[in-house]
């Protein structure tokens, strides 16, 4: 029996939608005095409960605005749930929008340390993996020039190399498979496949059903913030396809 690594229990996230965005003091004070701070509340997620076992590769399916990204943010610990509880074991590495955390003025090498530190790794660990990262990214001597001079392909390559070298327990993938040119894409898919083979737990958001079927063994289906189905990947994909053809 494999053990449960993510336990999502009755999670709900409530957002406040201000009628108009009030982000300056004058406006705020005037509205506070006149009592005109109006906002609507809505639940981006409501009553979400499911568990992920170690080694599961779970697809999160749903139409745009169904709450997929919100759910991933809550699991990654970036967003706090309004109600319910999430317990997770092991190190979670988000692989979303690669290279977003780079400092453009810093060189690639300096960014490796910065990005690694963000993900919670120690100096010694990053140092020991440094060469592996540089080699995988194929940046060569460019590793010492500032990231602002990199092409977007170079940035994604570096981001991918850092995020995957760390061997996390839980990997969050948010449609990031189109990485770099054809050659690097092959290499990165191989890398991810080898992580799967090692039994890493994956949460995967994608609209690409073919890819989902290839990668995942389980799936959950969100619709306007509620969980409407969960189970084996094939079954849920069928439901998704039926729904999206309506």
């Amino acid at each position: 029996m494999s053990k449960i690594v993510i336990d999502v229990d009755g999670v709900g996230v409530k957002f406040r939608m201000n009628d108009e965005k009030v982000d300056n003091l004058k406006e705020y004070i005037i509205r506070k005095i006149t009592g005109r701070i109006g906002y609507k509340e809505f639940w981006a997620l409501r009553n979400i409960s499911f568990t992920v076992e170690s080694g599961d590769r779970v697809a999160v399916l749903g139409m745009n605005g169904a709450g997929k990204s919100t759910l991933l943010k809550v699991i990654a610990g970036v967003l706090k749930a309004t109600e319910g509880k999430i317990t997770s074991q092991g190190r979670i590495a988000p692989l979303l929008e690669l290279g977003a955390g780079f400092d453009p003025q810093y060189s690639g090498a300096e960014n490796i340390y910065l990005y690694g530190a963000m993900l919670g790794y120690s100096r010694d660990f990053i140092r020991s993996k440094f060469n592996e990262i540089v080699e995988f990214s194929e940046l060569g001597e460019f590793i010492n020039s500032p990231v602002k001079n990199y092409s977007s392909g170079m940035k994604t390559r570096l981001g991918f190399s850092i995020a995957t070298v760390v061997e996390p327990d839980i990997l969050i993938l948010d449609e990031v498979f189109a990485v770099g040119d054809a050659k690097f894409r092959k290499k990165s898919e191989k890398k991810i496949q080898s992580m799967f083979d090692r039994g890493i737990t994956v949460l995967f958001v994608s609209h690409n059903i073919e890819q989902v079927k290839k990668i995942c063994n389980k799936a959950i289906f969100l619709e306007s913030g509620t969980l409407i189905a969960s189970g084996p990947c094939e079954d849920i994909c069928d439901i998704y396809e039926v729904k999206s053809n309506q």
């Binding site: 990654a76 979670i92 988000p94 910065l114 530190a117």
Partner: protein
């Protein structure tokens, strides 16, 4: 509490990375690099000295050091609070993606400014030697106002960082407040010259810190106990208020970035 300490240890490396980054990037691309930490206060001191030399007492060769001490402490306070205030917004990209204890960002800003400030004290030492200001045993007490100032800047920085997430105007408003604080801190004039309005100086916690720093470095007399108590009390309250406000609101930051 134990949890917080454990978490802090995990992200200690990130804290040092962020501190080093701010210092490194500040002077990258400039030919003189980190030397600007020394040149900048020296030049402002010379300018202020020339502009306000009419205000000095007769035959007072310590006026330059008087200005420099005030100017150094003020500019640490102003830079630290300003960069702490912006720290959450500047790092919005990371905050949205990766979980990191959020107080790391303002703390890193205040720390990196503190390190630049400590380096710039070399100028103070050099100018003091050139003007033959005799150090006394009280010079050791200078560390006390410096520590108080660190926590004062951190506390106010946390308050501002929180407010600036919700209200962009804080960044402009704080510039104006900082200017008022500068004029009320007796940086380039003697308090005796404004005896009518000396209550403003007594109310100003930054002036209390500057006064004690000057007592230790320049006057060679013990710290003023009234100013000491006032500045400690103010820093403690600012720090507690900052931590409280920050922790109470930090989960909502992401919704406003």
């Amino acid at each position: 509490m134990k949890q917080i300490i454990k978490n802090f240890q995990k992200y200690r490396f990130l804290l040092s990375q962020l501190v080093v980054k701010e210092i490194k990037l500040k002077y990258r691309k400039s030919y003189l690099g980190i030397l600007w930490t020394l040149i900048e206060p020296l030049l402002t001191m010379i300018v202020l000295y020339l502009v306000f030399s009419k205000l000095r007492k007769n035959n007072d060769r310590t006026f330059a050091v008087y200005i420099l001490t005030g100017r150094l402490l003020y500019s640490y306070f102003s830079h630290a609070t300003k960069s702490a205030m912006k720290s959450i917004r500047v790092n919005a990209q990371m905050i949205k993606k990766v979980y990191v204890p959020k107080y790391i960002y303002p703390l890193a800003s205040v720390l990196s400014q503190f390190i630049t400030f400590l380096i710039s004290l070399v100028v103070l030492a050099a100018v003091s030697i050139v003007l033959r200001i005799k150090p006394t045993i009280h010079i050791l007490e200078a560390i006390i106002p410096i520590i108080i100032l660190f926590f004062m800047a951190l506390g106010i920085g946390l308050v501002l960082a929180t407010l600036a997430v919700f209200f962009r105007d804080m960044e402009y408003l704080w510039d104006v407040v900082l200017m008022i604080i500068m004029y009320c801190s007796a940086i380039f004039y003697y308090p005796s010259m404004v005896s009518d309005n000396s209550w403003i100086l007594r109310m100003n916690p930054l002036y209390a810190v500057i006064l004690n720093f000057r007592n230790a470095i320049l006057e060679g007399v013990p710290l003023d106990s009234g100013a000491l108590l006032y500045s400690i009390a103010f820093s403690a309250i600012a720090l507690l208020a900052g931590i409280w406000l920050f922790y109470k609101n930090q989960d909502r930051f992401i919704l406003y970035l």
